[in-house]
Subunit: 549 residues, 2 copies
């Protein structure tokens, strides 16, 4: 038990929090449990452990050592899960490449992270070929092919194929102990401005996120959440904040895991039905897409629990999901925060009066998970009251927040000003402790001296029966400073179509009943065919504002 | 945010695992939740937080600083809970004094820990008075009186009474950040040999034990375990391994907490009924006492979940508890291990064939909780097979094990030989990962070249309808080396009395059916009026063997 980093023998009782320790209990009590890829490949946890050993030996042979960065371009798969464990467990750093970025951005992130090994699913060969001359640090290419063939004949000089690499490598690998603060993973945030920025997480942080999330998700309110009897399938890509850390939680729980490959609605629905999926997580856009697909109408979704994050869960969407029997609830976090900070939970004694009440609670940003120190503050970092009205920026401390942005000392300093991570999300907290985000700082609409919540207006518009999707942005107004404008996508199969005036009247009714201020009624409603989104499916309001102006 | 220990300003993103962080979420979402003492005193979590601040200010005024040891002699109370937080949160060390030790042993442990402050419930005044001249390090005495009066007129020079100390101290106390490896608590193990030995735990260890235990206990199998809707009451004394760490878990969950004071069966039953207690934990002896008391017959126990630890859960006792509707299951750990290592859980797909099967699963030692690296090994530290038969010593690594025994380097080195903590418990592990302890190393019976499990024989004898309690020990035998002997306490109200021969025949039947070996049939059965126990209610087999010989 040699400490590789410090070069000294630690005390016998030392127990660094390392990713390998997450495997102790599932291998003890769930070694025969299944991990399924696209319904085509099936393996047990015992095999997962063997393949982790083989992968580590294979990577060693290819020159991967403590501190080497290994980048992966793959769809959600059992292979990705193996990389989640094997790469950090050997002391290397896993870079999960966002395959939805532009080829130039992908090249930028791989170079910036200094990745030396690159795993490439054959679907991404054209992209990698187009940027091959720009990759400055990669010295080893490994191909990934769903059929498990040899490395393809291609201009990229592949050293090996993933499966042949594993087949040629022994199972036994003595994963060492080392400093728990060793970097385990890195990936790049996809903001709407500037170049992607790298965030990074240590073994300690990932272990603490996993165990705490497991404790928080086990809450039995509003249906059983995530427990040993569940069947797990991610619908947030594994390249994006470790699929919200859920594959690690699923593994510790020892549940059956299903990896869907590329997200295709009919494939996802087939897996939900055939594999009995009961627990997933995704952004609202994906849920919206799934509910709208033809296959969804033929599958029983009433055993499916789903955490929605990556943006507010609109009331209309939550209602549509509940109507299909999906146990849907909000989570909140961001790339910089590991990601989970809060989960929407019904208080144990809460008896929602009616469906509207229940929808409202499920769509709340939620209550902080254990250990999270979450405050809402004014620009002087003074706390604002928890009265459900006063708004402030969410600032947080937790044991799993990124230390900063990779090689961006100035941005890192801003992120951590005053000893708290600044989320740039504006929220209120009610007397029961529920957080409600009202806006991003940069999206907040200041009209007539008041702050208008674009998210609240979006949620109200989403309840109109003809509305599929909506975005509300602030547009310049000489008299009021800013006024809200709504961009609306209509449902193609709505019972009755809606005009721009219909939508405006729908919001006006809420204003007249006093639920929202008159400043919140959109001055302009525009019906559009689609909304601008970022690479991970979030609304790109910056682009919308530019296009509107 | 000054680091008090290192004298340097830590990075903005630093998040040491400190006990104060456990309060973040309950104060955010459960500030109005109740904490009840003996049904007489009631306070909210918000008040708990205020009293923690007052206690820290009061202790500061009495000279308590970073590193000072503060010893407590109290029954289970809201005050003890306040000490669990306030003392370590200010950087001091909480010594939970085992009030069931002899006065001389109590003096020894307080001196050995170097406690400077001693809180004394008035019930223990005679004890403290008798050892006052022997206390070498205590310079401040604080009295605790359930009526909250002034410090009693007494020969002990009390500085203050607990309540007057709090009343005179302000609420605001800025609990600092410091090194998470700072010692938080210490207490003394009560072995059957030699002087008590001190174990100790850091902030990091207690936080990790709390969050992991919370995650493990949330498992929904076999009834809901411990969740936000529960009402908690300890029945393992708070002086003993932090009441198995459960008050910390209860606080993070934000549940209603009930502290019973001194354990009196009628008082406990009254609290279960009046306060709606749903979750407790205790040793088998206490459960046995409770089931036997008159009051238990008039109270509905069917909403009560109970973890049994501190020794094997005999089948007969488990069955009796299940018959009363108690959702009873085993846990395993020891003072040195924080304590929890395993919990008995039904696998999600397990459908116990009948009550016997279910009892068997509930009485198993269980499966390790997350992060615990548990092995069964032979004397060369080689793993023995997990076939449900082969036995080895349980050795463990986990993030919350004591570093060793306080000021006992040699015993500490033995405890941690080979980088694993040696439990001295003998166990097997079945192919499903369930651990089953068969004996303590020193209690194992070697008969005719075979190892005979005293715990298994005890469990079988416990199913005899006339048996209340049983202990099986090894006695010397010229031919076989050792043979088992059973000491049996009969139920006073059994439908039919049992003779020593009846008991022997009861075990013989199991031997004839092949369930146990013939060596396991006790050569001697002796009916006794009571079994020898240690101060915390465990069987004292060492004393029994001496008395037998």
């Amino acid at each position: 038990m040699q400490d590789q980093v410090m070069g000294m023998t630690p005390a016998a009782y030392a127990y660094p929090l390392l990713i390998k320790q997450l495997l102790n209990t599932p291998l003890a009590h769930a070694a025969d449990q299944e991990i399924v890829y696209r319904g085509k490949h099936r393996q047990t946890y015992a095999t997962l452990r063997e393949r982790i050993g083989r992968l580590a030996n294979g990577l060693s042979r290819l020159g991967t050592a403590h501190g080497t960065t290994v980048a992966v371009m793959d769809w959600d798969s059992h292979r990705y899960l193996e990389c989640y464990f094997a790469v950090p467990m050997m002391g290397a750093v896993l870079q999960t490449v966002n395959v939805r970025l532009s080829p130039e951005e992908i090249a930028y992130t791989i170079n910036h992270a200094g990745a030396e090994v690159l795993f490439v699913h054959t679907d991404f060969l054209p992209v990698v070929e187009s940027i091959r001359d720009k990759l400055e640090t990669v010295r080893v290419f490994v191909s990934i092919d769903d059929e498990g063939g040899a490395a393809p004949a291609h201009s990229i000089p592949f050293c090996a194929d993933y499966e042949t690499l594993l087949a040629a490598s022994p199972v036994e690998y003595d994963f060492p102990d080392f400093d728990e603060n060793t970097r385990a993973t890195t990936f790049y945030t996809t903001g709407t401005t500037g170049l992607p920025k790298g965030v990074y997480f240590s073994h300690r942080q990932l272990v603490l996120h996993t165990i705490t999330l497991m404790a928080a998700l086990a809450s039995p309110e509003a249906g059983q959440r995530f427990h040993r009897g569940d069947v797990y399938m991610p619908l947030t890509p594994m390249f994006h904040v470790h699929a919200w850390g859920m594959p690690y939680v699923a593994t510790v729980l020892g549940v059956k895991q299903v990896y869907p490959g590329r997200y295709a609605p009919e494939q996802i629905m087939r897996l939900v039905r055939d594999e009995g999926v009961t627990f997933s997580h995704c952004v609202g856009t994906i849920l919206h897409m799934l509910l709208g697909c033809a296959e969804a109408k033929t599958v029983d979704l009433s055993h499916w629990k789903m955490v929605i994050g990556g943006g507010a869960l609109p009331h209309g969407l939550a209602r549509a999901a509940l109507d299909r029997g999906i146990d849907v609830f909000s989570g909140y976090g961001m790339s910089e925060t590991g990601p989970v900070l809060t989960l929407a939970q019904l208080a144990p004694n809460a008896t929602p009066g009616d469906t509207d009440d229940e929808v409202r609670l499920r769509c709340k940003t939620g209550v902080p998970v254990p250990l999270v120190d979450l405050r809402i503050v004014d620009p002087n970092m003074d706390d604002v009251p928890h009265d459900g009205k006063a708004c402030g920026e969410i600032v947080v401390r937790a044991p799993w927040l990124t230390q900063g942005y990779l090689k961006h000392p100035q941005a890192s300093e801003q992120l951590w000003e005053g000893g708290y991570l600044h989320t740039q999300d504006i929220a209120n907290i009610d007397p029961d402790g529920y957080v409600q985000i009202t806006d991003r700082i940069k999206d907040v609409i200041k009209s007539g001296g008041e702050w208008v919540s674009s998210l609240e207006i979006e949620s109200l518009i989403s309840t109109h029966p003809a509305v599929a999707e909506v975005a509300v942005i602030g547009i310049k107004d000489e008299k009021w400073g800013e006024r809200p404008a709504a961009l609306v996508v209509l449902k193609p199969d709505a019972a009755a179509p809606a005009s721009e005036d219909d939508i405006k009247r729908h919001v006006l009714a809420y204003s007249e009943s006093g639920r929202i201020s008159k400043y919140a009624v959109p001055q302009v409603v525009r019906i559009v065919s689609a909304l601008e989104k970022t690479s991970i499916g979030k609304l790109n309001k910056k682009l919308m504002r530019e296009q509107f102006a």
